[in-house]
């Protein structure tokens, strides 16, 4: 087992300050460990544009799952016409992807690292108000953040004329009331505005027309937490941490029936096998690995034979899945893949916002079929119908990217474990006419 505490700021910019997993790092300890150094440095020596260009050249990618370049996202925002113009930075802390626990970890252990990241990023894009959109169930996170915001205000890291630089920033915590779709950035904006949180049509993009119609940038917790170290140590240092096209470190993890479930800060490009064996200490006794999901429920399921893939955005795309949140899930040999997918699709079906037809209707339909297969009374043609649903909910077919994410584990599941699906079919039953009556039978060709 790797020693979690054998870390230094050069190699573990996110977690090197953590010495005790049971406590949070508040202002004194944070300041003693170079906390707010980056902020002081930037406000004194760097213009907002210079901060953007450092982040751009660091090639930092968004850590929420999509992996878009953060610097580029900031750069897309229109130049400010005048200083008083409103614009917003939103920190997306609506963590709800099943299997993911990284943002909660960062907020609860290092609240000030997140705040420093927010302040620096707001400075870079010229936002004077920032909202932290926090998941309602994260009760402890809210208490810790409130306390930290107060501490930072007392030190004038937040508020008016921050450290005499002339830069002002207010930070508010906004808690939701459930629903996974609020993590989609335009749905999240609607939610803050007090509208029903369906996603918005793009364009216009939030960078131009976001919260209350103003330029808005939405960044994930982990993305923002990367900013201070990059500003302080420079982009070439950051690029050299990993031996990979994806720069810097990433919180990666493994859960399921592994010996040591958890998360660790590692450079991009280590293999999933290293993560599973060296960090998560392999499978529990009596269990073997049957399949795994690289980064949350919306990433395509993979077989054991892909374990030697490098954990980075591109390599995982190539093998037909996504890095997602990089918090991997181990599926052991005791689990039936069809039942597992039923669980995953039930989640997505429950959380679909219902705005567009393929997603709203397709997901409940897939559940009906998966349930039949689990109960061994599926009919001939059912698996093909599932494949069709995957296709009809694929990229470009729905209003937002929720649906393609929802069906990607199912698509890969059928590809790699078709036998288990076929086992659920009772060939004595007549072909499917009866079972679809009542739910859109007109889709059948």
């Amino acid at each position: 087992m790797k020693n979690f505490f054998n870390k230094n700021e050069e190699t573990h910019p996110l977690t090197w300050r953590i010495k005790d997993l049971n406590s949070s790092i508040f202002i004194d300890e944070y300041e003693n460990k170079k906390g707010y150094f980056a902020l002081k440095f930037a406000l004194k020596n760097l213009s907002p544009d210079e901060v953007i260009s450092i982040i751009k050249s660091s090639k930092l990618k968004g850590r929420g799952g999509a992996g878009f370049f953060t610097g580029k996202k900031w750069d897309l925002m229109p130049k400010k016409k005048n200083i008083l113009e409103d614009r917003y930075l939103i920190c997306n802390a609506d963590e709800m992807e099943p299997g993911t626990y990284k943002d909660r970890f960062l907020i609860e252990k290092l609240p000030h690292l997140l705040l420093e990241g927010i302040i620096l990023s707001a400075y870079a894009i010229g936002a004077s108000v920032s909202y932290i959109f926090l998941r309602e169930e994260y009760v402890l996170s809210k208490i810790l953040l409130e306390k930290s915001i107060l501490e930072a205000k007392n030190k004038n890291y937040i508020g008016k004329n921050i450290l005499n630089s002339g830069f002002n920033l207010k930070i508010f915590i906004h808690t939701g009331a459930g629903r996974y779709i609020c993590g989609e950035e335009t749905a999240l904006i609607n939610s803050i505005e007090g509208k029903r949180p369906n996603p918005r049509y793009k364009p216009p993009f939030p960078s131009h027309f976001g919260l209350w119609g103003k330029p808005t940038c939405v960044n994930n917790v982990e993305t923002l937490a990367n900013v201070p170290a990059i500003v302080l140590n420079g982009s070439s240092w950051y690029k050299n941490i990993s031996n990979n096209d994806d720069t810097g470190t990433k919180l990666m993890g493994f859960s399921g029936k592994v010996k040591n479930p958890g998360l660790w800060e590692v450079p991009f490009g280590l293999t999933a096998r290293e993560l599973l064996e060296d960090y998560a200490c392999g499978m529990k006794d009596g269990y073997s690995l049957k399949a795994w999901l690289p980064g949350g429920s919306s990433t395509g399921i993979l077989t054991e034979s892909y374990l030697d893939v490098s954990m980075d955005f591109n390599s995982i795309n190539i093998i037909g899945s996504r890095l997602g949140t990089a918090i991997s899930i181990a599926v052991d040999n005791s689990i039936n893949i069809v039942s597992l997918l039923l669980n995953i699709e039930m989640f997505f079906s429950r959380e679909s916002c219902g705005w567009c037809t393929p997603c709203r209707e397709g997901l409940p339909w897939s559940i009906k079929i998966l349930k039949d297969l689990v109960n061994k009374n599926g009919r001939l043609g059912d698996v093909e119908m599932l494949e069709k649903i995957c296709k009809n909910l694929g990229i470009g077919k729905t209003f937002c990217s929720f649906a393609p994410g929802a069906v990607s584990p199912l698509y890969n599941g059928i590809k790699y474990f078709r036998e288990e699906f076929d086992n659920g079919i009772d060939t004595n039953l007549p072909i499917y006419e009866k079972k679809v009556c009542g739910i859109q039978s007109n889709i059948f060709s």
């Binding site: 505005e193 509208k195 209350w212």
Partner: protein, 157 residues
Amino acid sequence: MKKILSKEEKTFILKELNKYKNPDAVIIEILKFVQKRLRWISLDTIKEISKIISVPASKIDSIATFYNQIFRRPVGKNIIKYCDGVVCYINGYEKIEAELSNYLKIQPGNTTKDKKFTLIPICCLGNCHNSPTIMINENLFSNVTKKSIITILDNII
């Protein structure tokens, strides 16, 4: 119509209203605040809020119905949320669900006769490395087992 909201709640609503340019933005906050005491949001509650903030009741309703943590039916004093996310599935949440259901003598989604407990599923609580996970009111419980869950419940009663 009998008034539902307390004086304190009305003051809260008016105070919140001042914070934003647009009254829509405070709807969720108001609903959550009011729900704390009333435990659920009835249509009459919505109508009353609608009058105070001058937003159509239908609009408030459209928001209230979207979020799963705004309850539109009376619930019990304690809300038990068991995680049915994929990792908790792998680690056997179904056994926990069955045990809870059996012990409280209610199906998921329902409230006990004495109005003490409501049992509902919830998606991943971001605690998968300590799964199975449940949340009772505002408290998170890690690595629960069929046995420990009963001890936890008994301590609440």
